[in-house]
């Protein structure tokens, strides 16, 4: 009988391979890139070589079409050693999927292969200072002039924009409600009229620069619009689902990485003449951490599998997994620092970095509060339920 509640062999192999690569090739850079805050081109090269940027892109466009659950597994393994590096891998998946779902043939042929191969780093530009993730308050405008659009406005907290070769930019193309007045454009590096005006100074994931962008008469040909004019709302929603799951994926890895480190430490650390892992107080902490990780992991895999089936369930489970996993990781990394005592606070050990990185995951992709509103709304809608 087939075992539905397990990973398939190819998924296991994928996980194992990426895991080994991450431990060997990415892990050693993690502390350094956090320290210097520079984009890790070496890591990017490694990910590129493994073909990890094309995980959800079809073969015809140079990807491997491995599916969302496989992407989750890859990000989990990278997240175990370095959260910043996992973001580099997540961006092509989010943007790739947007283009795949909303782009026309020509756009797919033009953009997907370069994203899949890693030749171009894509970025996702939605957030604005007032709008945050609230599309209704988007102020960046794209005015139509014959066969082109002129974009004017500002975007905030756009990760990877400084190294990106192309960006999906959300802008208002009409006056009415956001539901039918927002459109999405692919802005390429060569397109004139946009610049990075500021790079945020932040708490964690230092190597991924969150950029403030200015668009001043940025001219985009009509051919760069994804989907129909005014069709951006759905695209934004769908992409948020994807990035939710991916954030949860790198965060479950983050939690696992922090846990593994703390577990190893408690076994080696001798106090009062015995290893601190022999104290029941410590054991209880370890047991709770392990349980929370496993529960989060399978909720996440469920979400990934649902998304692969293309079901509506993916949205609900993705939001659930994102809330559960990121809250869990915040608490877990805090406890992991605690298990190392004073050492945990020091940069010689990776846990303080992991704790800083964890905080981002609770606020990104719609805060966990706004995710909970989604979950609350969805379950109220679905009641009464059967199985």
């Amino acid at each position: 009988m087939t075992e539905h509640y397990q990973l398939t062999s190819e998924q296991n192999i994928l996980k194992e391979t990426v895991g080994r690569m991450a431990q060997e090739k990415i892990g050693p850079y993690a502390a350094e890139i956090d320290e210097t805050g520079e984009f890790p081109w070496d890591v990017h090269g490694q990910l590129k070589e493994l073909g990890l940027f094309g995980l959800v892109i079809p073969e015809d466009y140079g990807g491997s079409d491995a599916g969302m659950l496989s992407a989750v597994l890859a990000l989990e393994e990278i997240g175990r050693v370095c959260s910043s590096s996992a973001i580099i891998c997540a961006a092509p998946i989010v943007v790739g999927r947007i283009i795949l779902e909303s782009g026309n043939d020509e756009q797919k042929r033009k953009y997907l292969p370069q994203i899949a191969s890693g030749e171009t780093i894509p970025a996702f530009a939605l957030t604005e200072s007032d709008a945050d993730s609230d599309l209704a308050r988007l102020t960046t405008k794209a005015d139509r002039e014959e066969d082109r659009y002129i974009i004017n406005g500002r975007k905030y907290f756009i990760p990877l924009a400084d190294v990106a070769g192309l960006m999906t930019v959300f802008a208002r193309t009409g006056q009415g409600s956001a539901m039918d007045a927002v459109s999405v454009f692919v802005v390429e590096r060569e397109n004139p009229g946009w610049s990075v005006s500021r790079i945020e100074r932040k708490m964690g994931t230092q190597a991924i620069h969150d950029c403030e962008l200015i668009f001043e008469r940025c001219v985009i040909p009509e051919a760069n619009r994804l989907g129909k004019d005014g069709g951006g709302f759905i695209i934004a929603m769908r992409s948020q689902e994807v990035s939710c799951i991916l954030t949860a994926a790198r965060t479950i890895g983050l939690a696992q990485g922090a846990f593994d480190y703390a577990l190893g430490y408690t076994q080696e650390r001798i106090q009062f003449g015995r290893s601190i892992s022999s104290f029941q107080g410590i054991q209880f902490m370890l047991a709770d951490m392990a349980m929370q990780i496993e529960a989060g992991r399978y909720l996440l895999y469920k979400a990934g599998a649902e998304m692969d089936r293309g079901a509506d369930e993916g949205y609900l489970y993705g939001s659930m997994a994102k809330c559960f996993v990121t809250d869990m990781a915040m608490k877990l990394t805090t406890d992991a620092v605690q298990l190392l005592g004073g050492y945990g606070y020091m940069k010689d050990h990776p846990l303080e970095r992991m704790m800083r990185d964890a905080k981002l995951t609770q606020v990104v992709d719609g805060t966990n509060q706004s995710r909970r509103l989604v979950v609350g709304r969805e379950i109220l809608k679905r009641y009464p339920t059967t199985v």
Partner: protein, 463 residues
């Protein structure tokens, strides 16, 4: 066929090279699609190729291995089935679970609160459950049961627990009670007891716990002294589920010192020297009786011993591996039931709650998230037990602990959403909370589960 590639594993990155499987291996490959992972392999350069292409090439491979068309068809079906259902229940399972839910709702919804109030063992419901086949789920077909995997039993118990936890407990205890017979019994014992248990004619209990031996089974004191063709049992068992209503129990008693001195027996309820002591008055799960068994020179014939002398501890461990996921499932069911009541209430009184509806919605979301995480962990644990995976025991403990904690939290919050109404016995959420408390305690407290989990974690070097 040197350097044969298995492209299915290579869809994204690994170019796998293996020895060509001999024809003997083909049978194994066909039976178990996961056996690919066990074929020795070494790394190669990344290759590209899609899921579909991988599957196509794999089918070519199988064709080249001379599989018959029937086998091939079955294999394609397996891959397809998996792709459609990964981390999801198959339609068959969903249908089964829905039928159990329907049964539980029909039989129990209207009377659960009365059963609880009167602390009455619901014989008529048990009879309906038996007719449905709920007591034969874990019994192999050979002995008149349906021989379902643990995952299915978890599903059934989850559905019953959504409605009534005493009744879910009755089903769960049955699995626990028959497990030592199934695992340690000889053909005669199995043939004698299992068909009656499967039909629901015999209700069976688990007689392990003693006043001084709760989570620490190793320190139990009830003695079994062999005298010719029988054992003399002396001692006392407490907190025994189904005490007084069961027609038999799986009993642990001491035949020698230490863990190796613990033996298992089938205890018929009508043997001389066995007396039912007091029946406990409890906070929750009141429809499932819990009581004392008192043994005074109670005589159990030799042929009622399960396995060898000293096999008791392992049989108990084997039972816990099964029953802990069941408690997890019960916790998930309880949490789901409590959440459903809270959702119903929130929708009905939306207007009245309006001023605080956001915060209610957050609470509902949190309840749903925790419940769902617990549910996925339960299915995972059950699936690992079914696959006899090396991590199964650890996951059993994890899931018992996690899901019961979730059940406690969610049911407590459900009352909070109802406000003072929730505290009244007119609404079922209070009963759910009282029932939930039991889960954190029985079959090894959640504290002892955490010790067990930590031991498992610390034994394996972290990678």
């Amino acid at each position: 066929m040197e350097g044969l590639q298995l492209p299915r594993c290579g869809f994204s990155m690994c170019n796998l090279k293996t020895q060509a499987p001999g024809l003997g291996q083909v049978e194994k490959l066909r039976k178990d699609q996961f056996s690919f992972a066990r074929i020795p392999r070494h790394e190669g350069r990344p290759v590209r190729g899609g899921h579909a292409a991988g599957m196509r090439r794999e089918l070519d491979l199988f064709r080249s291995l001379l599989l018959t068309e029937l086998d091939l068809g079955r294999y394609i079906f397996d891959i397809w089935d998996l792709a459609m259902n990964q981390f999801s229940l198959t339609d068959e399972k969903k249908d089964f679970a829905n039928r159990v839910l329907q049964l539980a709702r029909t039989e129990l919804e209207s009377k659960s609160s009365v059963i609880d109030e009167q602390a009455r063992y619901p014989r008529e419901v048990i009879k309906k459950f038996a007719e449905f086949g709920l007591f034969g789920l874990a019994v192999p077909k050979k002995y008149g049961g349906s021989g379902r995997p643990l995952l299915d039993i978890c599903l059934a118990i989850e559905q019953v627990a959504r409605v009534d936890n005493s009744a879910a407990l009755c089903v769960g205890v049955n699995v626990g009670g028959l497990s030592p017979i199934l695992q340690g019994g000889n053909e005669e014992q199995k043939g004698n007891y299992l068909p009656r248990i499967a039909k629901g004619e015999s209700i069976i209990g688990v007689a392990f716990t003693e006043p001084e031996a709760g989570s620490d089974l190793g320190s139990l004191r009830t003695r079994a002294v062999r005298r010719g063709d029988h054992y003399d049992i002396n001692g006392r068992k407490c907190f025994i589920s189904n005490a007084g209503v069961a027609s038999g129990y799986s009993l642990l008693a001491r035949t020698g010192p230490g863990k190796a001195g613990i033996s298992a027996f089938i205890l018929d309820a009508d043997v001389p020297g066995l007396e039912i002591g007091r029946i406990e008055r409890k906070m929750g799960a009141r429809g499932s009786p819990t009581g004392e068994l008192i043994f005074e020179d109670c005589k159990i014939p030799l042929e009622k011993r399960l396995g060898q002398e000293g096999a008791g501890f392992d049989l108990a461990k084997g039972m816990l591996r099964l029953t802990r996921p069941l408690i997890g499932a019960q916790g998930v069911g309880l949490a789901t039931g409590a959440l459903e009541y809270a959702l119903e209430y929130a929708r009905e009184y939306r207007e009245r709650l309006l001023s605080s509806f956001d915060i209610i919605q957050y609470m509902l979301a949190d309840m749903a998230i925790k419940t769902e995480a617990a549910r996925q962990l339960v299915y995972q644990a059950a699936s690992l037990v079914d696959a006899n995976h090396s991590e199964a025991s650890k996951f059993s403990s994890m899931v018992k602990c996690f899901a019961s904690d979730v059940a406690m939290e969610v049911s407590t919050d459900a009352i909070q959403i109802f406000g003072l109404r929730g505290y009244s016995s007119d609404y079922p959420v209070g009963r759910f909370m009282r029932d939930a408390k039991l889960f954190q305690i029985y079959e090894g407290t959640n504290q002892i589960q955490r010790v067990t989990i930590a031991k498992a974690l610390l034994a394996v070097p972290s990678d």
